[in-house]
């Protein structure tokens, strides 16, 4: 860690808005809340590269921009590569004396599509080359911006427009790709999962990730009222349920050492998480049981890793 930072609490969160009000995200969007908090944690000295997706589209329709920090968007599939170039460019210009030494955090922002599908090659490359950057994946579990099409981050049993529930289909039949573990497998110094329902935890992790030297990855669970089909005031509650049911555990891995941030003696049943969401409405008890078994297994695996590689 570059410096010892103070953990966030309510009075330590800046009132400055780095993503301007007046953006065009959906009413009740969990993703923009997470983005807002993340930007507060990072401050002014950032250069953000953004992949195509909800965040990019809702913040930058020419000639309007929501961004109050330097920001660059090129394509959907290459944000990790673009950020690599920004980081390497700043480094070499500093080394050659063309610019003074500055403390600028290079940040890459993408959705689950731009991260686990079309962007995974660039991400893997950027991790392997050990660039000093923070990658934030805002995971709303589908290609939401273009109309709720499935991604490899879409959970089992969710109905999306390209893999819809129907007479012969339960929707997604594959399990959610575990991007956090993929990041961990690259042996990068810092990986964490976060959720805007736990705002201080999210901000702490984003700040930590920004200060780490080397690649950092924070996977941010982003409830989406539009795509998940729940009421616009439920994003925070859904996020909390995701953590409390074990669907989306909050943990961080620093240099391979695991730490579970939120744990309960007994996880809530997954049904409590699935029921309020229209995208799971079609699921029968058998499928819900399957999901429960899967969550139990994955959570047990995670607990074992936490015990084995304790921070």
């Amino acid at each position: 860690m570059k410096e010892k930072f103070i953990k966030f609490g309510k009075n330590l969160v800046t009132t400055e808005e780095f993503v301007a009000e007046g953006h065009s995200f959906c009413s009740g969007c969990g993703e923009v809340l997470a983005l807002r908090l993340a930007c507060k944690a990072l401050g002014r000295n950032v250069i953000i590269a953004n992949a195509t997706g909800c965040i990019e589209v809702c913040t930058s329709p020419l000639p309007v921009t929501s961004w109050r920090v330097p920001w660059m968007h090129t394509l959907f599939e290459n944000v990790a590569a673009t950020t690599s170039g920004i980081e390497a460019g700043l480094k070499i210009l500093t080394r050659k004396g063309r610019m003074p030494e500055r403390d600028i955090t290079c940040v890459a922002i993408a959705g689950d599509g731009g991260t686990s599908d079309i962007g995974i090659q660039a991400l893997s490359g950027a991790f392997e080359r050990n660039h000093d950057f923070l990658y934030l994946c805002f995971d709303n579990e589908a290609y939401m911006n273009t109309g709720i099409q499935r991604s490899s981050s879409t959970p089992y049993g969710a109905s999306t427009t390209t893999v819809p529930a129907g007479k012969f289909s339960i929707g997604q039949t594959t399990w959610k790709k575990n991007m956090a573990e993929i990041a961990i497998a690259h042996n990068i110094p810092y990986v964490a999962t976060a959720c805007p329902s736990y705002p201080f935890d999210l901000m702490n992790k984003v700040k930590k990730g920004g200060e780490v030297t080397g690649p950092a990855y924070v996977h941010i669970f982003s409830p989406c009222p539009t795509g998940w089909r729940h009421a616009s005031d439920l994003a925070i509650e859904i996020g909390r349920l995701a953590v409390e049911t074990g669907i989306f555990p909050l943990y961080e891995v620093e240099n391979g050492r695991y730490k579970l941030n939120v744990d309960r003696p007994k996880l809530r049943p997954v049904e409590e998480y699935l029921k309020p969401q229209g995208r799971f409405r079609h699921l029968l008890d058998g499928e819900i049981e399957k999901i429960q078994d899967h969550v139990n297994n994955e959570y047990a695996k995670l607990k074992a890793k936490v015990a084995c590689f304790a921070a």
Binding site: R44, N45, V46, I47, A49, N50, T52, E56, V57, S60, P61, L62, P63, V64, T65, W67, R68, V69, P70, W71, M72, H73, T74, L75, E77, N78, A80, A81, T82, T83, S84, G85, I86, E87, A88, G89, L90, K91, I92, L93, R95, K96, R98, M99, I104, Q121, A122, S124, G125, E128, R129
Partner: protein, 400 residues
């Protein structure tokens, strides 16, 4: 004191990037470009060049990284060819429309399928409309010169466009030729430091890459097109300044023995030099022929072309690429379009050859001249002819 050395065109291009004091090289190896990134990596490893070499994991990421680096004000260079150029295709459009000057050597290579590591112009032609400034080189000296020139022009604040420098794969990239290398002081006089006026900077935040709704996209593209056309003036100025300092003057179109010639052959790239020998032979035999070496491909040199073909009866255009199902080779189609509305214009014949590394001899170019004239005089309805194909091609349109 400038020195004369034997250099492979690949190494000449790398040497130019070194003398230009490039900051970032993000490249992915692909035959026949490999000697360029390899040489640059060696220079960085040995401290001959103070740059960051990014061994990216694909060409798409190579160009993406270059965009990021250019956006913070770094001088960037990359190289690719063939399928590599295609893999970064999506990003090429972004480079030019975001006005980020990236300099790229393209080792022209054929496209799959079938897989071919050997040279032709298919990759260049596939990137015709990407909005980059593009030039073709005949020899290793030009590989060096055009790379230096590319930095000067692309990074100019009146231009701010990326530049492609095309080198024929293998036929040029792997050929050692004499190259005059200038003094570093001369290079520094020619090429100022890169200053990107809109660099990403927390002290001066800006938004790069906003998306374009229908009510503004069209205007944005026209603005880009007009800027590209306007850059021609700086292109010419760049050529002139280059000549003033280094003694070699380049032009968008380079006529070779065209005075009074009734038939002209138009070629691009290293085969122009082979074709020139054919021209010499024919002229010795008393034939009224000449050659146009087309150097500047984009922005297309309309005025220069129209000027040089005044009073010409037959213009034979040699393409190293097929435009499948199209009305001729890509270059010949453009030439025809450029000349269509002229009151007096030559009859344009399209001849396609040397795909996938098929070699072309002087005799082949002599054949092209003869056959081209024959075809022109016959008033043939053929779309194009081929040269060097085994087995007779009766009608490229597939008709009887």
């Amino acid at each position: 004191m400038s020195k004369r050395v034997g250099l492979e065109a690949s190494h000449a291009a790398a040497e130019a990037a070194r003398m230009a004091d490039v900051d970032i090289i993000a490249a992915y190896p692909i035959t026949p470009q490999t000697h360029i990134p390899e040489r640059l990596a060696e220079m960085v490893a040995d401290g001959e060049l103070n740059a960051a070499y990014m061994p990216v994991e694909s060409e798409h990421s190579a160009m993406s990284a270059c965009l990021g680096a250019a956006a913070v004000g770094a001088r960037t260079f990359t190289a690719t060819g063939g399928p590599g150029l295609e893999y970064m295709h999506n990003v090429l459009y972004v480079a030019s429309s975001m006005r980020l000057p990236v300099i790229m050597t393209v080792a022209n290579r054929a496209l799959s399928a079938p897989l071919s590591i050997w040279g032709d112009h298919s990759d260049a032609m596939g990137s015709r409309d990407t909005g980059w400034i593009q030039v073709f080189c005949q020899n290793s000296q030009e590989a060096f010169d055009m790379t230096l020139w590319a930095f000067r022009v692309g990074e100019d604040s009146r231009v701010l466009f990326p530049v492609m420098v095309h080198l024929d794969g293998f036929h040029l990239t792997h050929v050692t030729e004499p190259v005059i290398l200038p003094e570093q002081e001369e290079v520094d006089r020619f090429l100022p430091r890169f200053h990107y006026p809109f660099a990403l900077d927390p002290d001066k935040p800006m938004t790069h890459g906003a998306f374009g709704p229908p009510d503004i996209y069209f205007e944005a593209k026209i603005a880009q097109e007009i800027a590209l056309r306007k850059s021609k003036a700086v292109i010419i100025q760049g050529f002139d300044e280059f000549g003033d300092i280094f003694g070699r003057y380049y032009h968008p179109i380079e006529p070779y023995k065209t005075e009074g010639a009734k038939t002209l052959l138009l070629t691009m790239g290293s085969f122009s030099e082979t074709a020139k020998i054919a021209i010499d032979i024919k002229r010795n035999e008393g034939e009224s022929v000449g050659l146009i070496n087309l150097r500047l491909w984009r922005p297309f040199p309309l005025e220069e072309l129209r000027q040089v073909v005044k009073n010409v009866e037959i213009l034979i255009v040699f393409d190293r690429c097929i435009s499948f199902g199209g009305p001729g080779g890509p270059v010949s189609s453009e030439i025809r379009a450029a000349l269509y509305n002229q009151k007096e214009r030559p009859r344009v014949v399209s001849i396609i050859g040397s795909l996938g590394g098929r070699d072309m001899s002087v005799k082949d170019f002599e054949y092209i001249i003869d056959r081209g004239r024959e075809v022109a005089k016959k008033d043939s309805q053929e779309l194009y002819e081929t040269v060097g194909i085994r087995g007779e091609v009766t009608d490229i349109r597939g008709l009887k």
